[in-house]
Symmetry: C2
């Protein structure tokens, strides 16, 4: 039961930090039963909103903040304080407040208005302090659900969050899958690594063992555990940056302390910076909240193995966009890939990109890589909203473009696509390996195939696929297809990519295991013009006709139609169909195909 | 001036930890002028020794310990306490005390006998505490030099150390290059990264801001900064492990605290472990020493750029073995490679291996990878000592073996070696790219070439090269030859490796820049049998004759003699000499070589 019908009270934001001018507050007076036992007699939730809920009530985007964040995700107007994600949230931005109704609640256990350790315990009339119960991410999301109900929103368009906010997004998907259409977990994991927990442990010890901690009841004392909290923040800060970004920031001025006020060591540039950041944090954050929230982060655990996630996700109705950052060592890409693997295995619609950056975990808060994570978020939200107009007009904004193909480097037409499309049964589920910018997948979508997935290694292509509303997972085929289940797809396509693969056998074995039917197309080095190059001219067949030179071709495998057929026999693969093309004449070749075709297309299975 | 002639007094080991039974102590009564100003009126040095100095006095190996180590590197007998490097030091071990006279001093600023903050300041009669001056690695090594002189040793066979010990080894090389023949820096760097410094900064702040620190004069108080020191140690401990090794240790038992006594948080397995390690450390280490030594580590700085190191190393007379560990993120391999790059550029004799391991920075203290770093250390010491008998008998212990070569996978004979050797002028300096296990380099050494270097990517081959007394640097040719100077080598050999290289142009450009003369050998795909395979049989030429299949060959580049000559023209490379072989007949081919030779050898330059 809430204190008002879809109305908020103005909020002061608790004991830490400046008041949030636009924050709204609602108090739910029925008790909250907590995940790990215990009860909160009542709970207040503070949030900020941007934009307008549309008439259908289906344009709401929920933003979950990270450990030290708050509801102030963006400035509301020119006079407002900056928000923590101004670069991504606002009119015309990636999360476009002209289109979407954006809600950002302060999390349970925080210190900026929503009930937390610095809130008054109604039972004692004093702040909870360390009497604040142990809470989990589940509890945070349960309380957020109350807010969602209070707002009268049936179903969110998307939940998005990074780090601890990403854990909340995952939790929304698992706990309230029918209340959200799209999930965007960024730089997060299904459970924190032992290394990540270790840093949190040290931070909590620093706070709890600070003599000014007073068992968490420091609110009555002149000073709280300022040193301990600052130390915890310094440790955290190191883990949010990467080795490369720290080098960039501090190496040139190594021995020159910055002119920053700090009560901590100022011997080196990095020292003065950390000391300043630690001291600054103490002014705006509550130590008990730090302990409470970092513990919730450590307790979050969707399972140790991908199999556990498979169980959780198997009936999940959401659409997913998972984003990680290459230099994030606090929530390393492997942990995002585990989530993606489970979603892929359970046939959930998912896209994944591991953004190449030196910015570390903090990348999602920085403008440097906004072009990638921001654009994908924007595209994904548009796809969820069914905003195809935007896609068609905006498609050419995407970077990248067709990678050169072996026969027609200057010509993006893929003459073999029509043939391949004809080989795919209507409605079949299709996995397109090395899908490039998604041309084949778009064609399939237009033909009504509603379960398709692309695998692509190049970031620019992945971004373009997401822009086209496709499901695409960034990955290296040489890692194999272990992610997939036996006979998971009706059809797997490997079109003109075989010759770029190092582990050909591994990939083909994987395809035969995962696909009911596999379509493989490749350039035939038995083609008479190529034979002539070698036999008459004495030159490697790659050069000339194929527009590459032997020393710079991306093609590292040379094979003929005969080689491929022998290889199929060796693999125990049945050849159901084969087509040989002369792509220069756009003709199907018969007779001695190994001599007369420059491209071969096979349908095989095992 | 020392208190005795080549004699030691028995030592108690200062205020921290148990006494070291075999430690010997010497006090030098003349003042020590310190690197950053200030003076120590006298200095005591504690060390332990193992084995015997030989008559020539040239078998002494100096071991420098890391931040928390001491002189007790190994147990002296069965009744002795374990040493910190028992796995590597002892009779018959990698650092064989039957062969070498091993000396391990406790470092200046430490707390186990050598003068440090817990020593009595003769001026006050009280422990120095934070009155102990700022010291640097230079000061540590200067004090060690006094000990070396005291021992009457003119020249060390080698100085070896990991981490801060590696910084001391580097410092020995730079400061007293004539007093040491070989330098073995392990898991170290010419200056600590900003990230590494950041962790030290937090550790020092934790100690100094502990209320029990009393400005460093806690010795008179019932308790010192136990919490602060424990926190510093916990942080350090995390950085010594890798993400992978922490996962291995803690993930399965994540939520189960270990049964360890600790006054710190015990919520998780990793928490209880860190708490225990922190508390344990407090019992054996002095907080002021931690502050002093971690500061020395941060202040160590041989230069920001490889160019600075080039200046330092350019006349260095030492021989070098540099070892890093792939998962070491505190002293990442890149930092060792910078040292190696500077040594290579200045033509110093150096070997380098980046050991593949999950054990992180601590790898050099653990038995897991002893087979690699231990064996290389043993081999390198033997080379320094001129112990060729050991090499000949021990050579076959090394792992690895010849990698299969393109023509004779089952036959390790390299028929083209004789031809290549004849093309190299007597006494020429030679760089052998993709040198494998060093067969060509051994041959060159036997012919009296005394400046040779191999580059090799495979760890097992690198270890075998070191075992053979060769200089070899682990590296990937695709990274280019940027490390090298223009015309640095009289001759560069790229023998049967061209076809495995992705960036062919980059490598050949690099060779032409760095070598006065370049010898390139490669299999000729214009060979009539290979032409026939494609033209008559319709199969890719790789298969059959060359014993690989198209889908698993390591050869990703296909070229003919004609292709190569055209490429040389494109590169502006002059062809000085060419030889075409029929390796099956062991004959030199003339006439239509592109048709009749299966292997070509070119001498080119620009």
């Amino acid at each position: 039961m809430s204190t008002g019908d879809n109305s908020f009270e103005s909020s002061d934001t608790g004991r830490s930090g400046a008041p949030l001018k636009y924050a709204q507050s609602v108090t739910f007076e029925d008790p909250v039963e907590l995940d790990r036992g215990g009860t909160l007699p009542e709970v207040t939730v503070v949030c900020e909103t941007y934009g307008k809920l549309n008439a259908a009530g289906d344009n709401a985007v929920w933003i979950c903040h990270a450990l030290s964040g708050d509801s102030h995700v963006a400035a509301h107007d020119d006079t407002d304080d900056p928000g923590w994600w101004d670069i991504a949230v606002g009119p015309g931005k990636a999360i476009d407040t002209d289109k979407y109704f954006v809600i950002c609640p302060n999390i349970l256990g925080g210190c900026r208005g929503t009930t937390g350790p610095n809130s008054i315990n109604p039972k004692t009339g004093r702040p909870y302090g360390q009497d604040f119960p142990t809470i989990t991410v589940n509890d945070m999301v349960d309380v957020q659900l109350r807010l969602l109900d209070h707002l009268g929103i049936d179903k969110l368009l998307a939940v998005i969050g990074g780090s601890l906010g990403g854990q909340q997004a995952l939790c929304w998907a698992v706990r309230y899958p029918d209340r959200v259409r799209g999930i965007i977990p960024i730089a997060t994991s299904a459970r924190l690594s032992s290394q990540g927990m270790a840093f949190n442990v040290v931070g909590r010890n620093a706070i709890r063992r600070d003599p000014d901690f007073h068992d968490g009841q420091y609110y009555d004392h002149p000073a709280g555990p300022r040193v301990g909290l600052a130390l915890a923040r310094m440790i955290g800060h190191i883990t949010y940056l990467s080795k490369e970004s720290m080098h960039e920031k501090f190496s040139a001025t190594r021995t020159q302390p910055r002119h920053l006020e700090t009560e901590f060591e100022r011997q080196f540039s990095v020292g003065s910076y950390l000391g300043f950041k630690g001291a600054e944090f103490v002014e705006r954050f509550d130590a008990n909240s730090y302990v409470t929230l970092s513990m919730a982060m450590d307790l979050f655990d969707l399972g140790a193995a991908v199999d556990d996630l498979v169980d959780l996700f198997k009936d999940n109705p959401c659409r997913w966009l998972v984003i990680s950052f290459t230099s994030d060592w606090l929530f390393p890409p492997k942990e995002s890939r585990d989530i993606v693997e489970a979603l892929v295995r359970t046939d959930r619609p998912v896209s994944y990109c591991n953004v190449v950056t030196d910015c570390g975990h903090d990348a999602f808060l920085l403008p440097v890589d906004l072009d990638s994570y921001g654009q994908m978020t924007e595209s994904f939200l548009a796809t969820l909203a069914g905003d195809t107009a935007r896609r068609e007009s905006g498609g050419d904004r995407a970077a990248g473009g067709l990678r050169p193909n072996i026969f027609h480097p200057a010509n993006p037409q893929r003459l073999d696509y029509d043939v391949i499309l004809d080989l795919i049964a209507p409605g079949a589920s299709v996995l397109d390996l090395a899908c490039g910018n998604g041309d084949l997948l778009v064609e399939l979508a237009e033909r009504g195939h509603n379960r398709t997935l692309g695998i692509e290694i190049h970031q620019a292509d992945v971004i373009m696929c997401v822009d086209k509303g496709l499901d695409v997972v960034q990955g290296d085929l040489n890692d194999g297809l272990v992610t997939f289940c036996d006979k998971q797809f009706d059809c797997i396509v490997l079109s003109r990519a075989l010759m770029e693969i190092k582990d050909v056998k591994g990939v083909l074995e994987g395809m035969l295991r995962v696909g009911r039917k596999c379509i493989v197309s490749f350039p035939n080095f038995g083609y008479y013009k190529l034979r002539d190059m070698l036999s008459s001219e004495g030159k490697a067949p790659e050069a000339g006709v194929l527009h590459y030179k032997w020393y710079n071709t991306p093609n590292i495998r040379v094979l003929t139609i005969k080689d491929f057929e022998e290889f199929c026999a060796e693999l125990g693969a049945a050849i159901h169909h084969s087509l040989a093309l002369d792509t220069e004449k756009s003709a199907v070749v018969s007779g001695d195909v190994n001599l007369n075709a420059d491209l071969a297309i096979y349908v095989i299975s095992r």
